[in-house]
Each structure stands twice: as structure tokens, then as C-alpha cells.
């Protein structure tokens, strides 16, 4: 009787282990950052400090794998299978690429060059040119699993054109 009970307990534990293992194994990776960020940064100040640091690649390792919240203006939108926003850092020759998983393509599809975004991402690394011959002359921060926390769409051109159209129609009606 005791033997049977022990065998039963072992079998139940084994099945529970199998279920947990299977669930862990099949859970997809988290493609977006959530919750409180590990760091909140003023992008321009951060990049200026990193640009001046001769051992920036080493210094930056503190941020690798950590979530960072920051704001910046979109310089370019790249990619097809996933989407990458290149963010202006305010420092010449220093780029920041914020990558979004393809599942969030619809969320990012409205973002265009000139928009100001607040993002929370995971830091993947800081790349600095390896030599004078390097084809990648720029320094670059790579980030992934980004989330858009706030989006201020660039409306300057639209409002200008609307004003222009209104003033034109006004002038036309006046002349009539």
C-alpha cells in the first residue's frame, strides 16, 4: 500500500514537472519591456557623457540587459521584418537604434521621421568604431524589445500647409 502511494506521488510530481517544463519551453520570449525601468535617461546628456568617455564600451556594460526609459526625435524608420527607429542623439556621429519586434509593427507603423517618442527598451550594447578603416564610422547604441510610452507626432508641416491653404482660400474669397 505504502509502495503504491509513493509511486503515485512520484508519478504526480513527474507529471507536474513535465507540464511546468513544457510550459516554460513553449512560452514565447517577452518582446516588449514593461514595468518600472531600471534607468531613466536624458538622452542627450547620456550620449554626450558616453561620447567623451574613452572606455565607453566598457562603461556601457552596466546598462546591457537593463531597461532604459528615454525620449528623442525620430531620425529614420528602418526595417521590414521588424522595425527599427533611429533616434537623434544630439551628438554628431552617434546614433541610437531602437528595435521593435514584428508583433508590434502595427503600433509603430504610425511613427514617422520628426516625431518625438518616449521609449522604454532593453540595452543590447554600444558599438564603437574598431579602427580608422572601419566602414561604420559612427558610434551606436543598440536597443531592442522597445515599447512606445508616448508619441508626439510631428504636425508642424501639416499645420503650416493648413494655414497656408486657409490663408489662400481667405484671399480668394476676399478677392471675390
Amino acid at each position: 500500500m505504502n509502495k503504491r502511494r509513493i509511486l503515485g506521488v512520484v508519478l504526480v510530481l513527474f507529471i507536474i514537472g513535465l507540464v511546468i517544463g513544457y510550459k516554460l519551453w513553449t512560452t514565447p520570449p517577452e518582446n516588449q519591456t514593461a514595468g518600472e525601468p531600471d534607468f531613466e535617461k536624458n538622452l542627450q546628456e547620456w550620449v554626450t557623457t558616453l561620447d567623451a568617455d574613452t572606455a565607453a564600451a566598457t562603461t556601457f556594460s552596466t546598462f546591457v540587459g537593463k531597461s532604459v526609459k528615454f525620449s528623442g526625435e525620430v531620425a529614420d524608420v528602418m526595417g521590414d521584418s521588424s522595425l527599427t527607429l533611429q533616434i537623434k542623439t544630439g551628438v554628431e556621429g552617434f546614433n541610437l537604434n531602437a528595435n521593435f519586434h514584428q508583433d508590434y509593427k502595427s503600433t509603430v507603423s504610425g511613427v514617422v521621421t520628426g516625431d518625438v517618442v518616449t521609449l522604454q527598451c532593453i540595452c543590447d550594447g554600444l558599438m564603437v568604431p574598431m579602427s580608422a578603416d572601419d566602414l561604420f564610422a559612427e558610434k551606436k547604441i543598440d536597443m531592442s524589445r522597445c515599447t512606445i510610452l508616448n508619441l508626439e507626432q510631428h504636425k508642424a508641416d501639416v499645420s503650416k500647409s493648413l494655414d497656408h491653404a486657409e490663408s489662400e482660400s481667405g484671399e480668394q474669397s476676399d478677392s471675390k
Binding site: L24, W25, T26, T27, P28, P29, E30, N31, S61, V64, G65, M78, G79, D80, S81, S82, T84, Q86, N97, N99, H101, Q102, I122, D124, G125, L126, M127, M130, D133, D134, L135, F136, K140, D142, S144
Partner: protein
Amino acid sequence: MKKYFILTAIALMPLFSAAQVYKTSAGKISFVSKTAIEEFSANNAQVEAAIAPAKNQIQFRVPVNGFVFKSGLMQKHFQENYMETSQFQYSNFVGKLSNPTAVNFAQNGEYPVEAIGKLTMHGVTKDITVPGKVVVKDGAVTLKANFRIKCSDYQIKIPAASAASVSDEIAIAVDCALAK
């Protein structure tokens, strides 16, 4: 005078086009590990690639954390235990074409090439030769390659418990569309 200026400009035009660099920050690399027990793959769409035809120089930079797996646990193991990305955040390839004259960057076509260079991964640098092709279409250049590497060559340790499910030899596919 105007005639000389135009003639000089025409004469110098090939030099300017040859000095151009084709680049991308959104290239793709994927890899597949296949054993009798398990097959898995991962994709990375954050690859930086560049080719400078005039200097016969090719370069790739791969943020290793950019590899996405189907399984979150597998991705975590890959980053933390295998590639140790907290220490080695990037993999790099710097090289050149062994047959640069085989590619006419001014004419549409698929050109078989061979890239020779140094691959740095997991902090280890090795000389490698990679067969591939350069596809030129309407001014855009696509670099494609399929090759294999051994994890053990780059001191990527596969735990004994995973040896049956993770292959030492990994098949890598590169597909990077570059623009001027």
C-alpha cells in the same frame, strides 16, 4: 571652359561611384541548430552590414541580443549561458572579396563571390572563408550567404545535458539588403 568642366566631371564620375559605401542597419541573419532530437532556429533583423567596392572591404556587426527565438527560455539560455552577452555583446566580421572584379556594381545581376576575413564571436577571432553572392538590382546591393560554424571553435560551451539537443555545428544564413 564649360566644356572642360563637363569633361572633367564625366571623367571623375566612375571614381565617385566606386568610392561609395553600401550600408544597412536592418540586415538579417538567422541560424539553425539541428540534431536527431531537436531542431531550433533564431532570427536577427538588427544586423549592420557594409560593403565598400573601391576598398574591397566588407563588414558585418551583429548585436547578439538581437536574436529572437520561438521559446523565451531558449532565448534566455542562448544569451546568458551560451553567448554570454553581458560580456560579448557583438559578433563582427571584417573581410574582403577574394574575387572583387567578379562583381559589377553598376550592372544588375547575381554574382557568386567568396568572402575572406576574420569572424569575432564570443570574444574569439577566427579566419573564415564564406561562399555567397552579391545581388545587384537597380542600384541596390544584397549580400547573401550560407555557411556553417562550430560552436567549439569560438569557445561556446554546450553543457553535457544539452549536447544531444544542441548541435556543435550551426548553419548560418545571411541576407542583407544594402543601399548607398
